[in-house]
């Protein structure tokens, strides 16, 4: 277990293999070695740390393909994992799951929290958390980025393109289809 201390001085006992998905913490642990000393995270509040490390209920084991397994059954698949776990040891393995209820709940946090999570992900250096849930299509993990309308809705962004820009965008889309 690793002891983390947040910016508002809350302490969290967290599994080592979970926190090591953060490149920052992994490097810190390597530098410090085996130690009971708490790791300070001055740029992460407790509410945000809870959000990125909280496990979901239900499945309790992770199988070797990076999927969750219930202790009661052999092949229950669920992507219901905290985002910090998303960066599996072998990034090249494809995830085969669709968006989970947990993912959906996670993504519908309020705008302030979403912003805080992005900043924390950048600070902690968790690449999957930086982009996957926000910009990538959650329903189809291999489908790339979300459509612009979805991104606008998610981030409260207004389509402020001029007619000239709209025309250019139309051309770009045509090129992408034709090329």
């Amino acid at each position: 277990m690793v002891l983390l201390v947040t910016s508002d001085n809350e302490q969290f006992q967290t599994e080592k293999d979970i926190v090591e998905r953060s490149v920052l913490i992994k490097n810190m642990l390597e530098d410090v070695g085996e130690s009971d000393q708490p790791i300070p995270l001055p740029n992460v509040s407790s509410s945000v740390l809870k959000k990125v490390t909280q496990p979901s209920t239900g499945p309790t084991e992770i199988d070797v393909r990076g999927r969750y397994l219930s202790t009661a059954s052999t092949t229950v698949e669920s992507p219901s994992r905290p985002p910090i776990l998303e960066q599996s040891q072998d990034e090249t393995r494809k995830r085969t799951t669709d968006i989970s209820e947990w993912d959906q709940k996670f993504i519908t946090v309020d705008q302030e929290m979403l912003f805080e999570i992005i900043l924390a992900a950048n600070y902690l250096d968790i690449k999957s958390l930086l982009c996957r849930r926000w910009l990538q299509d959650g329903s189809q993990h291999d489908q790339g980025a979300r459509p612009p309308e979805e991104i606008r809705k998610l981030f409260n962004i207004v389509n402020d393109f001029t007619p000239e820009e709209e025309a250019q965008i139309k051309k770009e889309n045509e090129w992408a289809e034709d090329r």
Partner: protein
């Protein structure tokens, strides 16, 4: 007004041409925002019901019936009220009502306009206070970069740059978003050229990566010109040589100065013998050659090449090319196998710098191991042999053991997709790899109880693979090994820090850093779990459960 059972196309087709007078809103059955239509539409529908019916889908009928009913109700009401009125009086009421309608419409228009302006204000304010706008540009660009995936990178980059003008600006000023490999079809014309030009311009000044595709159609010189315009900063080039590839194209490319080219992929169609020579490629390090019929002596400055992939080339061409690359560090070779068991090669080819070797076997009823008989790789650290495309390939342990003597530094070994390994050959391989630290056996035979027993560490017995610390085993079937034997082997090479400190004599093997056991169709049960329960989950990963 609820028009939930009327589809959008119908509403647009029938109602919109009549938009005059009082407006009302109705939600149609499809995912369309509220649409506003004139009240006169009602009239139109009710008065011309038979005509409308002709073009209506059946699903729309109940709604029309409701509209008709409300008009009939008004008709009954007005009939009753004007029973004693003259025609002139009725016409006066009509005029008054129409004036009232116009007045109401004007108020509604004003209100709608006001509502829309408030809506726009709310959107704008939400946009302004949205935290996403507070993100530093560098972080936003980093997020964009992470969100763009290899296979869908063109769509991804476009989608991100089509969100709003701010994001578009950031995306367009981040060249690395536009540097992923781009396939260029050389026969395309028209707006494809403009799009290509814009795409390549956005990646400037970073290296562009281009894969040229030529077909049966004539090559469009304009599109080629666009590629040649960025030739000095091309980072990678994929060029197929087919019957239809014109010689002038090859000549033009050969004469170009590829100042930034780091990767070159050349695919040659069957029966083509290309005479190629890329001379100005000062940064070229990575080369991939597919289906070359002979050794291309002057193709590139061979001494520069450190990373080489050779596929579908005859063996003499493969070894001829390897012999020209004294500084090779990484090699990936495909072999179709050898017809005969090899004889001892008196002078095997020495690849003195080779660090990583991957061999893909496509052998069909033939030997794989003679490939190794031709090589000496004193610094080789990582060897992967993949039999995915093989069928009945033969493995000679004698050949391979002899090769291992010429490659004593192999630390990482991976075998995949073979049905031809025996526990004996696996054990012999491990015994001949004194530096082995990482072993992966994926979908191979041979990982059975006798091999597992050989790996087990016992005090006082000289161990095999004493430095082994990382073991990955993937099996494509049910657990076919004795769980207690497997667990005992795993447990024999694990101890806690406290246990280590209490030992009088330190173990002669290294402790595990990672073990992954994947039996695709089964899980390890309570017997296994009981023996290895003290090993942390980040060190030992396996599927648990019961049938």
């Amino acid at each position: 007004m609820n028009l939930s059972s009327v589809n959008a196309a119908f509403i647009q087709h029938v109602l919109e041409p009549n938009t005059r007078g009082l407006a009302f809103s109705g939600k149609c059955s499809e995912r369309e925002p509220n649409r506003t239509f004139a009240a006169s539409c009602l009239k139109t529908i009710s008065l011309h019901l038979p005509q409308v019916q002709l073009c209506l889908p059946l699903i729309a009928m109940p709604t029309i019936a409701v509209i008709g009913a409300s008009v009939r109700a008004a008709l009954l009401e007005q009939t009753e009220r004007t029973r004693r009125c003259s025609k002139a009086e009725i016409e006066r009421i009509i005029e008054e009502s129409e004036r009232e309608i116009i007045s109401l419409q004007s108020q509604i228009d004003a209100l709608v306009e006001l509502r829309d302006s408030y809506r726009a204000r709310v959107y704008a304010l939400k946009h302004i206070v949205s935290p996403i706008h507070s993100l530093p540009v560098e972080l936003l660009a980093k997020i964009f970069d992470l969100a763009i995936k290899g296979e869908t990178h063109i769509q991804d980059a476009h989608r991100i740059s089509h969100v709003c003008s701010d994001w578009r600006r950031v995306a367009h000023s981040t060249p690395r978003l536009w540097t992923r490999p781009l396939q260029v079809k050389l026969w395309k014309t028209g707006r494809v050229i403009d799009g290509l030009k814009a795409w390549l311009a956005r990646s400037e000044p970073m290296a562009a990566r281009v894969s040229l595709v030529s077909g049966f159609e004539d090559i469009n010189r304009e599109i080629l010109e666009e590629v040649l315009r960025v030739v000095r900063r091309l980072g990678s080039l994929d060029l197929p040589i087919t019957r239809t590839t014109p010689s002038w194209l090859v000549a033009q490319l050969e004469q170009s100065e590829f100042d930034g080219l780091e990767e070159l992929h050349l695919r040659v169609a069957t029966w083509i013998d290309p005479a190629l020579a890329f001379t100005t490629v000062p940064r070229l390090r990575k080369l991939r050659l597919i289906n070359f019929p002979r050794v291309p002596q002057t193709l590139v400055p061979w001494a520069q090449i450190t990373d080489l992939t050779l596929s579908e080339n005859p063996h003499d061409v493969t070894f001829g090319i390897l012999a020209m690359c004294p500084n090779l560090v990484v090699a990936s070779i495909t072999t179709c196998g050898f017809r005969y068991h090899s004889q001892i090669q008196p002078n095997p080819l020495v690849l003195g710098q080779l660090h990583t070797l991957t061999l893909h076997s496509m052998a069909k009823s033939s030997y794989v191991t003679p490939f190794f008989s031709h090589l000496s790789t004193p610094l080789l650290q990582s060897l992967r042999v993949n039999f995915r495309d093989s069928k009945r390939s033969y493995w000679s342990q004698t050949d391979f053991t002899a090769f291992q003597l010429r490659a004593p530094n192999i630390a990482q070994l991976e075998f995949a997709n073979s049905d031809d390994f025996t526990p004996g050959s696996l054990e012999a391989t491990i015994r001949s790899a004194p530096s082995l630290t990482h072993l992966t056996i994926a979908l191979c035979t041979g990982f059975d109880d006798s091999f597992i027993r050989a790996l087990r560490y016992r005090d006082g017995v000289p161990p095999i693979a004493p430095c082994l610390q990382n073991l990955v085993v993937h099996k494509g079937h049910y657990v076919d090994v004795a769980e207690d034997v497997l667990a005992a082997m795993i447990a024999s090479r694990w101890w806690t820090d406290a246990e280590f400190a209490s030992l009088e004599v330190p173990p002669a093997v290294t402790r595990w850093t990672y073990v992954e056991l994947d039996f695709r169709l089964g899980t390890l049960g309570s017997c296994f779990m009981g023996i290895v329960k003290h090993i942390p989950s980040h060190v030992l990963r396996y599927a648990k459960g019961h049938f």
